[in-house]
Amino acid sequence: MAATIDQIFVIFANWVGGFFPAAWHAAVVDVLGVIGIVSVFPALFALTTVLERKGLGRMQNRLGPNRVGPAGFLQPVADGIKSLTKEDVVPFTANGIMHFLAPLVLVVTVFMGFAVLPVGRHMQLVDMDAGLLFFFAMGAATELSVFMAGWSSHNKYSILGAMRAIAQMISYEVPMLLSAVAVVMIVGSLSLPDIVSMQDQYSGVWPHWFIFTPWGFAAFLIFAIAATSESNRSPFDLPEGESEIVAGYHTEYSGFKFALFFLGEYLAMFALSGLGVTLFLGGWAAPFSFLSFIPSWIWFFAKVMLSIAVFIWLRGTFPRLRQDQLMNFAWKFVLPMALLDLVVTGIWRFLGPGWQQWVVCSLILIAAYVVMGRTAFAVKHFGPRRYRYAE
């Protein structure tokens, strides 16, 4: 019974596919999968926007939206209607075609990333051999849409925001890839289902998630930082910096195109959360062996929503970084730590099971963290800035 519920969507898709000729079967199942992705994640996006606003409000001791529908949960419907009926303004000097294409490119590439995410047991659209690489390739392609949006708007704030966004995305893509490589080194595969099934094991009731290893924990932190930055979320929201460059590269977008950008950014956040969950938090695996009866897709979405909650929490807490702080942090702290983590992962693999690998790897990582943290705080331009205007 539990297995049936676990696979209910797979069974359903195959059942629908059974009505078609055998040659079409696979195609129909794929189309159903695409429909699933294209409907579930935007629905999740709608839910998340209102949850985010309510959560942020609570963190600032406000109520958040509570007017439209029960407890404000129909707010996204109102927002959607508003953005659909708004005038679609294209600046006079804008490059029309690119201005039109940019949000589409963003949304399409982001959606493609979902194709390889395993949202449940046997529930991914394509089981690609190089799935992880595909995901990152699609992530890299979104940078282009950001640039197109910024440049075609013919607005200095837009182009500033776009250049900031691209510089930031490139800088943080490197540690992100490296932290994923640590996982790949242990699993020995770029296929995301393989990575999950490796973590879907238990010692007693405890899961074998990669976050519960020294190298995995470090890689997870690096991944989380890089993912926050990649998805342009606070505290790394310089490309959008409402207070300085008025929403950056989508300043000149209004109406539905703006909504597409908004959707694209949220979907990128979902995709990165899903990837983080898959790589480090066991994907669709249950946290304890005795909870395995709950369907795998519930666990996946619960974990994704949990990481979204952390994103919101971070956004509600931290102030925006300065551009130089952002770059220094990426290249002088996160990247060395990611490289070191790769070495530590190698050591972990080399030492083999036993208590030694735990002690050695933890010690190396903690020592590096402490030393780098200390030196980082001592270095001029990087540590806390002492303002002297009070004198």
């Binding site: 690489l133 990152f136 890299a140 392609a141 940078e143």
Partner: protein, 166 residues
């Protein structure tokens, strides 16, 4: 050959043509991205999944972005008043035509006596990894050194004079 191949090839060639013909340099860079995407699809149609994705990741994600950055940093997108083509464009065109004619003749005339292999050769990521770590480990190391050197070199070359002399 299937229609898919012709379509992808047409897109790729059109992108490449646009990349070298358009007046606005930014448009050239974006057309280049189209050409690279088409090439990645061609790689995929050749069953080289890994290389196709690497192509997207490296070329669209990095090289095109680098080009775009360089264009914006050098104000290259403002079209020059004396035309976008070099003084020696005619010679260049003649050389190009000659090269293409020679290449096409060579390709068509050689008629490679190779089998039409319908089944894709196996090249999983694991195989590629194994090959990189065994047979091609020396080139890999050399590439690593080259990339490090290139990174440092690019930073030093592009660094401000003032910062360097300090």
């Amino acid at each position: 050959m299937s229609g898919v191949f012709y379509f992808i090839s047409a897109v790729t060639v059109a992108g490449a043509l646009a990349a070298v013909l358009l007046r606005n340099t930014i448009h050239c860079a974006l057309a280049l991205a189209v050409a690279f995407a088409g090439l990645a699809l061609l790689f995929l149609s050749l069953d080289a999944q890994f290389v196709g994705f690497v192509q997207i990741l490296v070329y669209i994600g990095a090289v095109v972005i680098l080009v775009v950055f360089a264009i914006l940093l050098t104000r290259d997108s403002e079209a020059p008043n004396q035309g976008v083509y070099s003084r020696t464009w005619l010679a260049g065109l003649v050389i190009t035509a000659a090269v293409f004619a020679f290449l096409a003749w060579a390709v068509l005339a050689s008629l490679p006596g190779l089998p039409r292999r319908a089944v894709a050769p196996a090249a999983s990521v694991q195989d590629i990894g194994n090959a990189l770590m065994t047979r091609y480990v020396l080139p890999l190391e050399i590439i690593a050194v080259l990339l490090t050197a290139a990174t440092i070199g690019a930073v030093i070359v592009a660094m401000h004079e003032k910062a360097r002399s300090k």
